[in-house]
Assembly symmetry: C2
Homo-oligomer: 190 residues x 2
């Protein structure tokens, strides 16, 4: 790969992050190219679709979340680790302001990104869920992928700056898991 190409890819990613934060994911491609100091042709060559740009920007954040799951899982009680990690999803949403609409727009152009995010985060969450379920802190019959999608939806308001409300609602969702665990403990099946 040529040196100028690598430089431009870098500049484009930096520019896109800035512009998306300022104008949202639907910001004009021309604006991103201008911010990066390149022509639109260069932008389209490296990122044929808008979602490619969004994917690249999010990749690092998602990876950070995955390692955080392992860290928390090794240093906290399973229930607490789960509760804390899910709060990190709220941070992710608030950091990458304006990217949420793209994920949930239903536009086929954005199908690739949610799949990547889910593919990375679902196993991380499943590990935390299994650990908490093994010690009876939560119910054991909830699909990790479904819960992840739900939590990310609840984290969306963080993009509007209302981080606290998102935190409360995500915590409420986890409380839902705990309620069923205690209900089953009080009235065991059979």
């Amino acid at each position: 790969m040529r040196a100028d190409a690598r430089r431009n890819v870098d500049a484009l990613l930096r520019a896109a992050a800035t512009v998306f934060d300022r104008l949202g994911v639907e910001a004009p491609m021309r604006t991103i190219a201008a911010e990066a100091g390149v022509g639109v042709g260069t932008l389209y060559r490296h990122f044929p679709q808008r979602s490619d740009l969004v994917k690249a920007i999010m990749q690092r954040e998602v990876d950070n979340c995955v390692v955080a799951a392992a860290t928390l899982g090794g240093s906290e009680p399973p229930g607490a680790a789960l509760a804390e990690w899910v709060q990190r999803l709220v941070d992710l949403a608030s950091t990458k302001r304006g990217l949420g609409p793209a994920l949930h727009s239903g536009d086929p152009a954005y199908q690739a990104l949610p799949n990547y995010v889910l593919g990375q985060l679902t196993p991380a969450l499943r590990g935390l869920l299994d650990a908490a379920a093994a010690v009876g802190e939560i119910r054991a019959d909830v699909d990790a992928r479904a819960l992840l999608l739900a939590a990310m939806r609840l984290a969306a308001p963080a993009s509007d700056g209302d981080v606290d409300e998102a935190r409360r609602m995500v915590a409420l969702l986890i409380d839902g898991l705990r309620f069923q665990a205690s209900a089953l403990a009080k009235a065991p099946p059979g």
Copy 2:
């Protein structure tokens, strides 16, 4: 108001509902005008903003939800009424496929619609919450508006046809309210 104007407003609303369902809320204005058999000028005169169209289409559905809250509240135990009514929000989301992205897009043009929807549905939900809290079935410290927003976010996947998953997650959220109620009963403050 002139007769032809009234006819065209009607045709436009019918056409917009059809086209939004087929192509999503971002469907071209030209397409809606063509479907209604009128010029774009007529469309813009009656509905200067896209959100005006969306608002008018949704109004009836929202009103139906409000009367349902009163009906359920009068015929079911408070906790059950709450749980059932929140499931109606899932129906609303699945019926008006493709309109969710507009509500959550953050685009200022759509600010009016969420405000209307929330303004109508929040008091309805608050009534159900108060009744359930009064008999100790749920915790009493959750803001109705915040819970409504959260439930609507969870109901969003219904637009993609996955209604069952949405139902499970919304139910989980309500279980969260019940968990805190039972936790407080077991360990009273003081």
